[in-house]
Amino acid sequence: MSAELLVQNLSLHFPLLHGSARSLKKTIVGNVTGRVSSDGNAGMVVQALRNIDFHLTPGDRLGLVGRNGAGKTTLLRALAGIYEPQGGRVRVQGSLHALLDPNLGMNPDLTGRENIRLRGQYQFLSNAEIRRMEEDVADFAELGDFLDLPVRIYSSGMIVRLGFALATSIRPQVLLMDEWLLAGDANFLEKARLRLEDLVRGAEILVLSTHLASVIEEWCTRVIWLDQGRVRADGNVADVLAAYAAGT
């Protein structure tokens, strides 16, 4: 089955709950006295995404650009199925993996190996797949005997290597990536670049949100410029990046 990512008229808003907007008291008091305040039942909301449409097929590499708060991460979360949109729909075919938080669920009290197994379970892998992942990560992260010691005592470089190896150990058909993840010492950087490029090449569809124009120029075939939750421009890399550079 080839991968597909279809987004139709996607709209998404966040309720503003925990400021002063809607506490239990206000909901009850408002209902009891019939004096529904101005924010009322619809509540105060932040419109995060409005009427987004696109369709990606194998080979498509989409870059998302936009200022902070433009809705890039929210769009990735909606694509990953974490936020269910209030309007429109998202249809995904093929295995999907979202690299949103590279240190997802990494627990400093567990050993490196335990962390690998736990991550494997988070990604719904079978025992055999987890064993493969364990070898792959151990091999790449070069932790040696440290693999069986708690992450708490790792050097920061070791933690970065483990986190990176974990994040890139799953090879999906549809890859969502929030920021191009690369950090660490120079020697590691070259190796990491190869691994990441390998992962990106292996994915049939890539959606990447980043601030780095160079990364987009190198990897993407299409760019969407998000502005206040709307698609401001959508097209080939050179045009949209030029418009983006001029517009901000």
């Binding site: 239990l24 909901t27 997802l104 627990n107 736990l118």
Partner: protein
């Protein structure tokens, strides 16, 4: 709506191993580095029951041999109920980072809470066994009636962990309310005093959901068959909780990620 809630349930069942590892982790990490580890749970419950037992047997003028097994069972079971309810407030709120970075059936989070508390209960059961052995009290065949009741507990626990978790994520005023309700419930549900001490008002106890839920497990283990009113009360309260939780979960499941 109900269909996606159902698929949440079936995929959570497939992920039972993950919930189990997470629950186990919660317990082992809490005690990593300590010499007797999770058996601190056993020890502190034992000390509590030991000290309360002598005091209250004296205060209530009761026979140690009947009061101690009663108190040990009551405290151990009540600790489960009360910890389950207060943990439920956090079943989604405490997992904010995870909920926002992976798509995972929400019932995995509530199963984790239920399994974690089950593990704690298993550690505490040791205290009850010790009390029974020391007092040479042997459980009767009636004790088997506690098995279906305990299974009912687990279903209701999952319902509570899910619906209360969702409510508490939405309304941040609920956790403290839950806390104080549980405190009152401890005193009015016959945990440290025996129902027979109520003299004449015993029948009112069936109205208290905490009492009837407690009694359907505790009674048989003490060798007494709970009355029909207790069973009817426990079953109807359970049905209400399960139905309300199912409807609530089906309605708000898609919103939880926005609330946490």
């Amino acid at each position: 709506m109900f269909r996606s809630a159902w698929s949440d349930l079936t995929s959570a069942v497939q992920l039972a191993r993950l919930s189990w590892s997470l629950a186990l982790l919660d317990i082992t990490l809490r005690y990593r580095g300590s010499v007797i580890g999770p058996f601190w749970l056993t020890l502190s419950t034992g000390v509590m029951i030991g000290s309360m037992g002598f005091l209250y047997a004296e205060l209530f003028q009761m026979d140690m041999r009947t009061y101690f097994p009663f108190l040990a069972l009551s405290i151990v079971l009540w600790n489960y109920l009360s910890a389950l309810v207060s943990d439920s407030a956090n079943s989604f709120m405490g997992q904010e980072a995870l909920i926002r970075s992976v798509r995972m059936p929400f019932l995995v989070y509530s199963t984790r809470i239920v399994l974690r508390n089950l593990l704690v209960l298993l550690h505490n059961v040791v205290v009850v066994v010790v009390v029974y052995v020391v007092l040479r009290k042997s459980p009767s065949m009636v004790g088997f009636l506690a098995v279906p009741a305990f299974l009912l507990w687990q279903v209701v626990s999952l319902a509570v962990a899910t619906s209360l978790g969702a409510l508490c994520a939405r309304f941040r005023d609920i956790p403290p309310i839950v806390g104080s309700v549980m405190q009152i419930a401890f005193f009015v549900s016959g945990v440290i005093w025996q129902p027979s001490q109520l003299k004449g008002y015993e029948h009112l106890l069936a109205l208290n959901p905490f009492f009837s839920m407690l009694e359907i497990v505790r009674g048989p283990l003490l060798g007494e068959v709970p009355s029909w009113t207790i069973y009817i009360s426990a079953l109807s309260y359970s049905a209400i909780v399960i139905v309300l939780s199912t409807v609530l979960f089906a309605r708000v499941r898609g919103r939880i990620a926005y609330w946490v």
